[in-house]
């Protein structure tokens, strides 16, 4: 019944002006829908059947995109209440919690989605590496992806300050001081970022503008480029297909009632002789349905923690009472751990090397080996190097997260990590 009503609407004058194609009934309609609709045109009309297999990508890139969309919507809602002033920012958090309808849950979704986005963009990068999907012709899209990863970190980091509580204030103080270790430009960079030497009103408004205007705009643009290039580079990277055997040719399957031998081009019984097996499927419904399902999954994934746990909010920011130790956001704790050993290595050399190495990776590693195959045996060396670096970074992050206590001393993870200075003993 709803299907019929919808079709009726689509056939009306207004319906036709909006949706050029109704609910597709034929393959032709499906193709036209994918090509003519703005929302769907990012897809080709048909995709390779491999694309549908979950283990090809685990949907990591799309999950990241969905998280970005969720973050944009919830972020816009939060902007109705948030005031980026040091004497009002914290209070607006309290209002969200106590009097704004759904204020707390929207803030929770925004907070959890932000953490998850850092995680999933990271996982997506790992997927692309381990399936060698950065190899030609996709080298530059890997670089765009790296920029998106850095933007994700930037968005998360700038958003971290906005609640203007102790957690935010000291994480940003520590995080920006890591930036200050860079030689020559470090101090200048930190000054420009903070609008001063310490985290204050100038820093808050800068972080706010970066968080709600500059970085999201850059992000949206780069995502568009990233997706467009995925399409123009031929969709997902996939292994070279072996030459089809004659038995696999579609012609072979057809009854031999007619011959086209006169053409002398190829043997066979249909005009499509010589075409490879058709592994393409229609985007609508196969890919589209899976994408909708994935969105439902992602939405559930952020709703569960958002319902169970409130986004943290500590005391109002106070420059006089540093927590001990003051920790940067979790994704920078690996760097902070390195900085605790050597400011120069942790603050400059290692992060510089990581970004440079990732950026030049597709230009150094060009041999089309193992493309589209998880952990291909042909790329043992590359996989080993990447895995060791990744494991090292994860270990350092884990140490910074769970094994560092007051005065950055090593301790067991079940002891209290942070001792706030006793303010009313």
């Amino acid at each position: 019944m709803p299907k019929r009503l919808w079709n009726l609407f689509c056939r009306s004058r207004i319906g036709r002006s909006i949706f050029r194609v109704g609910l597709p009934a034929s393959s032709l309609d499906r193709m036209r829908a994918a090509v003519s609709s703005f929302v769907l045109h990012i897809h080709p009309a048909k995709v390779h059947a491999r694309t549908l297999k979950f283990s090809t990508t685990f949907g990591l890139g799309l999950i990241s995109l969905y998280l970005f969309i969720i973050l944009s919507v919830t972020g816009a809602l939060l902007m109705f209440y948030y005031v980026p002033a040091t004497d009002q920012a914290y209070q607006s958090m309290k209002d969200l919690e106590f009097v704004v309808s759904a204020g707390q849950v929207v803030r929770n979704i925004h907070s959890w989605a932000a953490h998850l986005m850092v995680l999933f963009v990271g996982l997506h990068m790992c997927r692309v590496f381990y399936t060698a999907a950065y190899k030609p012709p996709r080298e530059f899209n890997w670089v765009v992806g790296l920029a998106l990863f850095l933007l994700t970190l930037g968005l998360s980091f700038t958003g971290y300050l906005l609640p203007w509580d102790q957690l935010a204030y000291w994480a940003i103080t520590v995080g920006t001081s890591i930036a200050g270790y860079a030689p020559l430009i470090g101090e200048k960079m930190k000054f420009i970022l903070l609008g001063g030497h310490t985290v204050g009103q100038a820093a808050l408004i800068r972080f706010y503008v970066l968080h709600v205007v500059a970085l999201p705009a850059a992000m949206a643009l780069l995502i568009a480029i990233h997706l467009w290039r995925v399409r123009t580079d031929g969709g997902l990277a996939r292994p070279e297909e072996p030459e089809p055997t004659p038995e696999q040719m579609p012609a072979a399957a057809l009854p031999q009632t007619k011959t086209y031998g006169l053409m002398e081009l190829a043997r066979g019984t249909t005009p499509s002789v010589g075409a490879p097996p058709d592994d393409l499927v229609f985007t609508w419904p196969h890919l589209l349905f899976r994408e909708i399902l994935l969105f439902l999954f992602v939405f559930a994934l952020v709703l569960v923690p958002a319902i169970l746990w409130n986004a943290p909010l500590e005391e109002i920011a106070n420059a006089v009472y540093p927590p001990n130790p003051a920790k940067a956001p979790w994704y920078f704790l690996g760097l902070q751990e390195l900085v605790s050993h050597s400011a120069f290595w942790g603050g400059v050399v290692v992060p510089g090397l990581i970004v440079t190495a990732l950026a030049v990776l597709p230009y150094l590693d060009r041999k089309p080996k193992g493309v589209g195959v998880w952990f291909s045996g042909e790329r043992k060396v590359a996989i080993a190097i990447f895995s060791v670096c990744l494991a090292t970074m994860l270990t350092l992050t884990a140490i910074g997260c769970w094994f560092r206590g007051p005065n950055w001393a090593l301790q067991a993870p079940w002891k209290p990590h942070v001792v706030a200075e006793e303010r009313r003993p």
Partner: protein, 466 residues
């Protein structure tokens, strides 16, 4: 290859769709269920039960369920306490249980101007019981226990002058008498041996303060502070006064009430404005204006007030200037003139111009907290381990026998950081003489020296007593 059918996905749509739907419903109910709504419904039930006429019943039925808040821009606060405490201004609820109880005695401090948290503390923006009362993590200002409530008065008023706050006044008086300021700085005045006390009420809990007064070194290892030996009631008063020292800035709108009309305020004005330059009490003072002895017997309050407002309108030809006193100051001065101007009271008036240098010096001795270490009458000092002077801060009775006036001035101005040790290898004595240069006024120093030089016992018999 045959097209796979999307039908295999339908169970997934059902499952995930139901899951998301359920989660949205849970989130909605979590958001809609708010503790304060229960109390508002309880209030409406109460009102319905009380209603006797149909129109009252209808009015009770129309009471909205909503957040109620007082915006206090002058304090940069929003107090939402009335969301649960709905009847604070309804006297018919006197004696009821919280949160539906009447707040007695609020005429002086209307809620719409002061809100609630300015006195009670807690978290005004919060709308759950625990968060609002401040008994949650990450909130530094839990509600002030009622036994310390007087400490809040001092945010806007002088601690000595608040009617109905005897404990606060007692604590303040004790603080001065005990000479705490000799070691601790408050409002920029005082010694540097102990920590400053400007925000002690904000950084220490009442329990800590009480424990610390009884045995400072047990709470803060190595503290040089002597235990405060006063009665339990006085200890409470002193704790209460400490809690009043929050350093919380108040806008002008509120501190305009700093000086409540009162005798102490009147005395202070009388001394500061230099009335004694023209008028005399007990034969002391100027002769331009009439003596003020027993002025209350000659004029009533109305006359004095009118005279302050415009002297010439009341006494034609008077040369007394029209001072730009506020109405409040006029009331304080009038109170003071009506009660305190008998010649027998001169000594207790503490008006510097009417006092001898020795008397003034004694005041200075108390004002700068010298009593804290050197004793109430400068006769015996408190313990100072490993000090050469009998492990004590020296008493000052015989200072005139060991020092000339100049030497004494030098010692007070320069202090003595290194106290000679009893056992040269022992630890440094914790207490030392702070330098008072740039903290004490020249006139005050002269008076202090006069006072100290005059301490030496006059008779042999008195000397024997030491």
């Amino acid at each position: 290859m045959t097209e796979p059918s999307p039908r295999s996905l339908y169970p997934w749509f059902t499952a995930l769709g139901l899951l998301v739907g359920a989660l949205v419903i849970v989130a909605y109910y979590k958001d809609q269920f708010r503790e304060w709504k229960e109390w508002q419904h309880a209030y409406i039930q109460q009102e319905l039960a009380r209603a006797t006429t149909p129109s009252q019943k209808a009015a009770a039925g129309r009471i909205p369920v909503e957040i109620r808040q007082t915006l206090l821009p002058g304090l940069d606060r929003v107090d939402r306490c009335e969301t649960c405490h709905l009847v604070v201004d309804d006297a018919s609820y006197a004696g009821f249980q919280q949160p539906l109880a009447y707040h007695v005695n609020h005429d002086q401090h209307p809620f719409e101007k002061f809100g609630c948290t300015i006195c009670h503390q807690g978290q005004g923006r919060a709308t759950t019981r625990e968060a609002a009362h401040g008994q949650v993590a990450h909130w530094d200002h839990p509600m002030l226990p009622m036994k310390y409530i007087e400490s809040a008065c001092a945010k806007c008023h002088l601690p000595s002058d608040v009617p109905g706050a005897p404990q606060l006044a007692r604590g303040h008086a004790l603080f001065n008498e005990l000479g705490c300021i000799g070691c601790h700085k408050l409002h920029g005045v005082g010694g540097a041996i102990g920590p400053e006390l400007d925000t002690v009420g904000d950084t220490r809990s009442p329990e800590w303060l009480a424990k610390h007064f009884k045995a400072p070194s047990a709470v803060t290892a190595g503290s040089a502070m002597p235990p405060v030996a006063v009665s339990d009631d006085d200890l409470e008063a002193l704790t209460l006064y400490m809690l009043s020292l929050t350093g919380e800035p108040m806008s002008d709108y509120y501190v305009s009430m700093k000086t409540l009309p009162g005798l102490e305020a009147g005395r202070r004005l009388f001394a500061e404005k230099g009335c004694i330059g023209c008028h005399s009490i007990g034969g002391k003072g100027g002769t331009v204006g009439p003596p003020l002895d027993e002025v209350g017997k000659r004029h009533d309050a109305e006359w004095i007030i009118a005279h302050f407002r415009n002297p010439q309108a009341v006494t034609p030809g008077s040369v007394m200037p029209r001072f730009s006193f506020t109405e409040q100051e006029i009331r304080s001065l009038t109170d003071f003139l009506l009660t305190n101007t008998t010649s027998s009271m001169i000594g207790s008036l503490k008006i510097p111009a009417l006092m001898t240098p020795v008397e003034r010096g004694r005041e200075v001795f108390v004002k700068y907290g010298c009593t804290g270490c050197h004793g109430q009458d400068a006769n015996t000092g408190i313990r100072n381990p490993n000090a050469k002077t009998a492990q004590q801060v020296p008493g000052l009775k015989f200072v005139a026998e060991g020092y000339t006036k100049d030497e004494l001035r030098k010692r007070i101005l320069g202090g003595q950081k290194e106290i000679p040790r009893l056992d040269p290898k022992g630890p440094q004595p914790p207490l030392y003489m702070p330098a008072w240069r740039s903290r004490i006024a020249e006139g005050e120093l002269n008076d202090l020296v006069e006072y100290l030089m005059g301490l030496v016992p006059k008779s042999e018999q008195e000397k024997e007593a030491f």
